[in-house]
């Protein structure tokens, strides 16, 4: 077995056993990143720092002071601030921004001894579902030519799927971990809102944003989440709830597990083959002794509309700090203050970001606030109630992650609404703040399909258990795109 196809779990065992050093391992992945630069999954590769960190990791490993993840390479979505390293958020606006501090998540992975190989491509400011809004050009889906990897964590998904790194961080505001994980055939987890610190994670929509792991397996996702999760005094919205041992319950039996299938997930909008793939996956759970229960979430159809008021409203304010005054892009020779603002922001932001800023600014304007923002918040509450009600009767909710497998590059860029509707199954989960996973569950036309598993608040351990058991009886997660094995 070649090294780069191994899981975190296997790499950890090998490193501890001295099969190879962290420096050797790091070099393997750095070489692959270089070989497959055409995927455009990285915005920055931090080779020098990576080699230096690997050296330190080797010292720890030799001394027997290593922890489980010490010496294993990974990479961060370019939305996480990394001290001394460009943190672009996929935007021209921050192309010159060298973060002077680390995000809490970055600090945590550093403390765990993982080796960051660089920063991963993403949709500009995490606004997009295809990675096509990135200032650095789209990352490509390794499974099929000219196909999007999904977004906004497209670089993370493409790099893990192509085995350029064993695992990565992502963020999910409306599906940005789950959808690219589904499109690229990897395992992604969006934790409960508040489970992972948002400090140093450049804000898109603060009440929806949540960082999480993207990996090959549920087992690896558990190891990653173990490192990321926990209260952070620097993030008032992070939860003080104790973090359980996510690996401890992976092998719990699913006998008697109650799975809810929302009928609204399986209506006419869903591609037939996708519906069939999900049904096949659900049947696997039946075989493991799970009980299937139909549930209804009548307000789900309102989710996309509510999301596209709340998220733009928050982003319109969040992005106001990008003004060309203290950091980021500044236009040449501004004539006066207005000119400085207008041209710096006009030049620095791409069209999708501008569109959402405009929508959000409008929704918050005097006279429209009640009609849009307040109404959207009411819908948000109704959707949350739909979920919590359903989760009173079932343990997890299952459904598709996306209506179709990965689409072609350029296929949906002309019609933003069509692009937005592709997030229909993921968005509601963010509005409710619930945890959810995307697990590889087959292929349509050689393109991966994701099964979505949604759980109750802080039930990440349950989700990982449910996903891991599926991965014990299927091998979808072990499939690799041709040319990247």
């Amino acid at each position: 077995m070649t090294i780069h196809t191994k899981t975190l779990k296997q790499l950890s065992q090998d490193l501890q056993a001295g099969e190879y050093s962290s420096q050797e391992l790091t070099q393997v992945y750095l070489t692959r990143i270089q070989q497959h630069s055409a995927l455009n999954s990285f915005i920055s590769v931090t080779e020098t720092q990576a080699i230096a960190s690997a050296k330190q990791a080797d010292a720890l490993l030799t001394a027997g002071n290593a922890s489980l993840l010490t010496g294993i390479p990974m990479a961060h979505k370019d939305i996480f601030c990394t001290q001394g390293v460009k943190t672009s958020c996929g935007s021209k606006m921050l192309d010159n921004f060298i973060a002077p501090y680390n995000a809490t998540v970055v600090d945590k992975f550093n403390a765990a001894g993982m080796i960051s190989l660089g920063k991963l491509n993403m949709d500009e400011f995490a606004m997009g579902s295809s990675n096509e809004t990135s200032f650095y050009g789209p990352a490509y889906n390794p499974w099929a030519d000219n196909t999007v990897p999904g977004g906004s964590s497209g670089g993370s998904a493409a790099a893990v799927a192509a085995r350029l790194i064993p695992a990565a961080t992502g963020t999910d505001t409306g599906g940005s971990i789950r959808q690219p994980a589904a499109f690229c055939g990897i395992t992604g987890l969006k934790p409960t809102y508040g489970r992972v610190s948002r400090y140093g994670m450049i804000a898109y929509a603060s009440s929806l944003d949540q960082g999480g792991p993207m990996a090959q397996t549920a087992e690896d996702a558990a190891l990653m989440l173990q490192t990321m999760a926990g209260f952070d005094a620097k993030d008032s919205t992070s939860s003080e709830q104790a973090v359980p041992d996510y690996s401890a319950s992976l092998n719990d039996s699913l006998k008697g597990l109650k799975i809810g299938l929302p009928k609204e997930f399986f209506d006419e909008g869903l591609n037939n083959e996708m519906a069939a793939a999900i049904e096949t996956a659900v049947n696997e759970y039946k075989k493991m002794g799970a009980e299937i229960i139909e549930v209804s979430m009548p307000n789900l159809k309102l989710a996309t509309a509510a999301y596209y008021v709340i998220a733009p409203a928050e982003c319109s304010a969040n992005l106001q700090r990008m003004d060309g005054v203290r950091f980021g892009h500044r236009c040449d020779n501004p004539e006066d203050l207005n000119d400085l603002y207008i041209r710096s922001r006009g030049e620095g932001f791409g069209p999708e970001v501008k569109r959402r800023i405009l929508v959000g600014t409008y929704a918050l304007s005097a006279g429209y606030y009640d009609a849009y923002y307040i109404k959207a918040q009411k819908i948000r509450r109704l959707i949350t109630e739909d979920f919590t009600k359903a989760l009173e009767t079932v343990d997890v909710i299952m459904g598709p992650v996306t209506p179709t497998p990965a689409f072609d590059i350029g296929e949906k860029t002309a019609d933003p609404i069509e692009m937005y509707l592709a997030d229909i199954y993921t968005i509601a989960v963010n509005l409710a703040g619930l945890p959810a996973m995307s697990v590889p569950a087959g292929f349509i036309d050689n393109k991966p399909v994701g099964l979505q598993i949604i759980g109750n608040y802080f039930a990440e351990a349950k989700l990982l258990n449910v996903a891991h058991q599926y991965q014990q009886v299927t091998n979808w997660h072990q499939q690799m795109p041709q040319g990247f094995e």
Binding site: I202, S207, S236, T237, L319, R326
Partner: protein, 477 residues
């Protein structure tokens, strides 16, 4: 036509927390530009605000002092606008759910007590400063002040004259210092005020259109600005014109107000709840704690001074109006053991006079209450006379020496030895036979002449009581 002036104030009081309202950076004034601004204050990408609980306590304290409703639940909101000294492009403030609700405060103007309503008080962060000088045509931005906690106190339009407005402003100023929640330093901008003014025909119920005067940071300017603005509005109205709702700036140099922006040009701040901050819940425990910590308020203190120390109402009011002054007075009474009346006289007359002359506050007084206590004790035990005491006080003012040291060094000890005084008096009587004759012929007033001469000859050191006694004995002949 008779016009009635209607005034409401929005006061911004900087809270004296050690660190900023949403970051751990220091709030100290006067540091080198941008040395007290951390990543959060700079609004760098990815940073998040964390609420300083001390600011919450202070706001609750203020609310309790004005007997206001304290909200169980209050919410921070983003107020959006672009300006170079506003790093995030929004100010974190409060809109729909302020921490302090409806309260009130009593003011006194020309002997009349009047109750002024407080609509609300809310917490917010201050912006930085734009520096337009010495940057070669560019503007410099100093973000040291960015994120400093402010309490914005909004009054009802209950004031009817500049005098009432100033009295209210002074009262709030006095109160925030009393509560130890703000240093009230107006030069440093820790206490500033926006004034809303409108006129209406006397007897009319509904309010006229108002103009808002922005950012005035002295009592004197508030008063002058109101007079000037009232005159301007009156002129317009009497000429049959109408007032435009707008924000105006008071130019103290020219003593005029001028338009900054009209209602139409006003920003749409697009307030919405800040998703980075959780709603603030004020627990019963916190309420109880703050209530227990609440100091004696000026009104109660004044009453106590009248009852316990038998001070005149005016003197009591004068002392109680400032907490450090009241504390000084009480410390003086305690450590000197002298009569409260004497202590209050020294604090209100000698000490306050000297402080005013040099524009010093009581806390900057070169003579602390212990040093002054010793001086008063020396009057009480007849070591020096009251007159000499003033001389000693002056010497103490410009040195670190104690009263005793100065009395000793300058030989100011009172002469109580009757033999010594007798010798002086004998000499004076001998040298002034004409005055002696006048006195003996019934001109009692001449007695004062002898006292004066004796004191003069003794360089003020003769004990006045002793002088009187001996003189009366000698002149009875």
């Amino acid at each position: 036509m008779q016009w009635e002036t209607v005034i409401g104030l929005e006061i911004h009081a900087q809270l004296s927390t050690k660190t900023k309202i949403f970051s751990a950076a220091s709030t100290a004034y006067g540091a080198e530009p941008n040395t007290q601004a951390c990543a959060v204050d700079l609004g760098l990408p990815g940073v998040l605000p964390v609420l300083n609980q001390e600011a919450v306590r202070m706001a609750v304290k203020f609310g309790m002092a004005i007997e206001a409703e304290i909200a169980d639940y209050s919410v921070f909101a983003r107020k959006n606008y672009f300006y170079p000294d506003l790093p995030k492009g929004y100010q974190i403030s409060q809109m729909d759910h302020p921490i302090v609700g409806v309260g009130h405060l009593d003011i006194e103007v020309e002997g009349q007590t009047k109750r002024i309503g407080v609509t609300r008080a809310h917490l917010e962060e201050d912006a930085g400063k734009s520096l337009h000088e010495s940057f070669h045509g560019s503007t410099g931005v100093d973000l040291n002040r960015a994120g400093t906690p402010l309490l914005e106190i909004v009054s009802e339009p209950d004031m009817r004259s500049a005098k009432e407005a100033v009295a209210y402003m002074r009262k709030i100023h006095e109160l925030v210092q009393y509560l130890d929640i703000s240093d009230g330093n107006m030069q440093e901008g820790s206490f500033r005020c926006d004034v809303n003014i409108s006129l209406r025909p006397k007897g009319q119920e509904e309010y006229g259109t108002r103009a808002e005067l922005k950012n005035i940071n002295s009592f004197k300017f508030v008063e002058k600005a109101i007079y000037t603005e009232v005159e301007r509005q009156k002129e317009i109205l009497e000429a049959g014109g109408s007032i435009t709702q707008e924000t105006r700036l008071y130019d103290a140099d020219k003593d005029e107000t001028r338009s900054m922006r009209s209602k139409e040009e006003a920003n749409d701040y697009r307030y919405f709840p800040d998703p980075d901050l959780l709603p603030v819940f004020i627990s019963p425990e916190l309420r109880a704690q703050v209530k227990a910590d609440l100091p004696e308020l000026p009104e109660a203190k004044k009453q106590r001074f009248v009852t316990d120390y038998k001070l005149e109402a005016e003197t009591a009011n004068n002392l109680a109006s400032s907490r450090p002054l009241a504390d000084y007075f009480e410390a003086l009474v305690k450590s000197s053991g002298c009569a409260a009346k004497i202590c209050s006289n020294w604090v209100c007359v000698e000490l306050s006079g000297a402080l005013n002359k040099q524009n010093l506050s009581i806390s900057q007084s070169p003579i602390d209450s212990d040093r002054l206590a010793q001086l008063l004790q020396r009057i009480a035990d007849n070591t020096i006379s009251g007159k000499i005491a003033k001389q000693v006080f002056e010497a103490m003012w410009s040195s670190q020496d104690s009263a005793d040291t100065i009395i000793e060094a300058q030989g100011l000890k009172q002469i109580t030895d009757s033999g010594a005084i007798e010798a002086i008096i004998d000499k004076i009587i001998a040298n002034n036979p004409g005055q002696v004759e006048q006195y003996l012929s019934g001109k009692d007033k001449v007695f004062g002449f002898f006292v004066g001469q004796t004191m003069k000859a003794s360089q003020g050191k003769a004990n006045p009581g002793e002088v009187n006694k001996i003189l009366q004995d000698k002149l009875r002949l």
